[in-house]
Symmetry: C2
Subunit: 430 residues, 2 copies
Amino acid sequence: MSLDTVKIAVLGCGTVGSQVVRLLAERGGDYAARCGAHVEVSGIAVRDIDAPRPDWIDRDKLTVDADALIDDADIVIELIGGIEPARTWVLRALRAGATVVTGNKALLASHGPELHDAARESGASLYFEAAVAGAVPVVYGLRESLAGDRVEGVLGIVNGTTNYILDQMATHGWSYDEALARAQELGYAEADPTADVDGLDAAAKCAILASLAFHTRVGIDDVAVEGVRSITPADIAAAKRAGGVIKLLAHARRVRTDEGEAVSVHVAPTLVSTANPLASVSGAFNAVVIDAEAAGRLMFYGQGAGGVQTASAVLSDVVAAATHIAHGGSAPRESAYESLPILPASQVTGEFQLRFAVPDRTGVLAEIAGIFAAHGISIAALEQTCEDDTESTLTLTTHHSTRSAIDAALDELTHTDSVTRVIAVMMREA
Amino acid sequence: MSLDTVKIAVLGCGTVGSQVVRLLAERGGDYAARCGAHVEVSGIAVRDIDAPRPDWIDRDKLTVDADALIDDADIVIELIGGIEPARTWVLRALRAGATVVTGNKALLASHGPELHDAARESGASLYFEAAVAGAVPVVYGLRESLAGDRVEGVLGIVNGTTNYILDQMATHGWSYDEALARAQELGYAEADPTADVDGLDAAAKCAILASLAFHTRVGIDDVAVEGVRSITPADIAAAKRAGGVIKLLAHARRVRTDEGEAVSVHVAPTLVSTANPLASVSGAFNAVVIDAEAAGRLMFYGQGAGGVQTASAVLSDVVAAATHIAHGGSAPRESAYESLPILPASQVTGEFQLRFAVPDRTGVLAEIAGIFAAHGISIAALEQTCEDDTESTLTLTTHHSTRSAIDAALDELTHTDSVTRVIAVMMREA
């Protein structure tokens, strides 16, 4: 039988887009055999036709007329990033009934509902494996592999830049600034590292993961975020003493409140016990741990960034999309039927490690412990280490408590003379 | 709109089947929201209606008439295991156009082509996530998440029983027999442990993984198998000295030969370097590492057995199947277009660690090294440790070589007086 040809428009020809174009050409025979259809790049929309490109890019396929390209495509691969013009182009494609494959986490985390609605109305498919954790197939994992289960929590290292920085601080004893400079030298961090180091990139991915895990619309603004700029070598040393390492984690959890179930989502530097499989995920690798009612604990691990690695995720979506076009079927529809409420940042719960500078006199521990007890916070461990004759460091580890209770206790403590200074407040994961 | 009802026949009501039935009842509302169809167990086929069952099993649904149940079902879940009557029933369902969801690795690894052909002829769907590695979604991983990539190798801990036994031997210094007895006490090993400890269970999973990874029909008889019965505490101590641990691994690899590409598949106890993420997979956990051309290295990790955990995998397939029934689409078809030749066991290649007892005299090392060189085997490391005045142990580590070259060198060596005894021959993974 003769196979149909599926026309693909590629929007953007950067590190990921150029690899997608290369693999579509080199592996076209494989894709045809797998999809039952020929996949063919009909054009590549770029801003500047004359910019330097890898030699495998066919310059005749470059165009600045994205609209014309989209209108003639069966599948539109959006890899330009950012909100506009990506949003307008993706909506144009979906409204025309074309399948969209995107790696744009910021767009999904800020305009996901609009995109999903457009897809539903026209019957178009929307794929986004590449938007979270590069080559790690965690979108498939949540949308399909766990479709028969009930997810309780998702915990992930989803930003390679900060993982690399924290890793280097721990390995070499570097300051945050030294580790950032090294990451920038090696190209692991951008000149303006804000999106990575302030946790915004991780927050967008956290929102996408939480949406899938809890069948609830979660946007980036729902995610409480804390980045890694303020992490010090002393924090890392304290983590090591506590038998752990510091990782920037995306936390998404189903929690029970007095009003029923809710979703807790936040990104924060977290003291991870070395017994946790996430503790040994180093360098630019990503890993996502999913706890589900029936499956128990699963982990997905792999390369979280890189042009060719992310291209693998894009192309898995392209093969699924082309197969559906050839044989029927569609991408899983948005599933938001649970519509759980999302807890405000102050209601985030977890275990915390707090470090204080305290004066070296009797009665300090008793007063501090008393204030925590009064705020309903249960203490798991207390350790005092002497720095000099007049000041000690007190490390306090809590059982599960809410961030607001912790903050209230801290507020009261700083009005006593039992605490000289709050050194750090950090979440913990066993 | 009113939803369709999808009728499900469950064949088998053991540890996995009973959990599937429970979750279908308890989570029915979730499944309806996710699939766009009600899923309803129409009956459960069992051998003995009167056997004791968990209290959530509705006895009115039990039947011994599997044929009637199958003929009336939209989805048939086969969880009886073994070849017959599973094969006959699965074929009956597929030929009638019903979707089959199975966890039966033995059936797939020995009659996979027959099942896939039947599915293709009638247009039926065949799902089998639960057949490999319990809750770990590695069938999805290979069939869908890596559909746009080119898999180079799959390396997996896919048998929890042997992983537990090897773990206990390493932790407590136990013999194989002691560790097996403990595993049997705890219910991790069966009274007749043959399928696990001789590597047959792992070989079936290896065949399934290799089929998916290389788009080639691979059956259990294609897989060279070595089990764990002969592993000694001395082997484990030698592994520790070499910076590793022993794991029973399923190896499936795309290899280049003079005639082109081929598939190498085998199951063998393997010395795994502690730097490899598989080294830290302990107890009854399973993990599968996939190396792909674009994605690089991915790892999937989770619980490889257990009724409720495996039920999660079954139910993900049920949700996919019911969604397709409600909205169109089908399971990915068998993809065997690459049809690569499969190497015979003697052509298995890898790095090896060999240990010999050698007499304590000069010239021994030179003679041994000379024989390996003559067989074209490149030596990576040689270490001699003295046991007493007259005998030493020589540990020899090779670079990549074929099993047949190793065997030929060993054969020649045992005809010299440079080797008293071959203690162990083991594969290595960095």
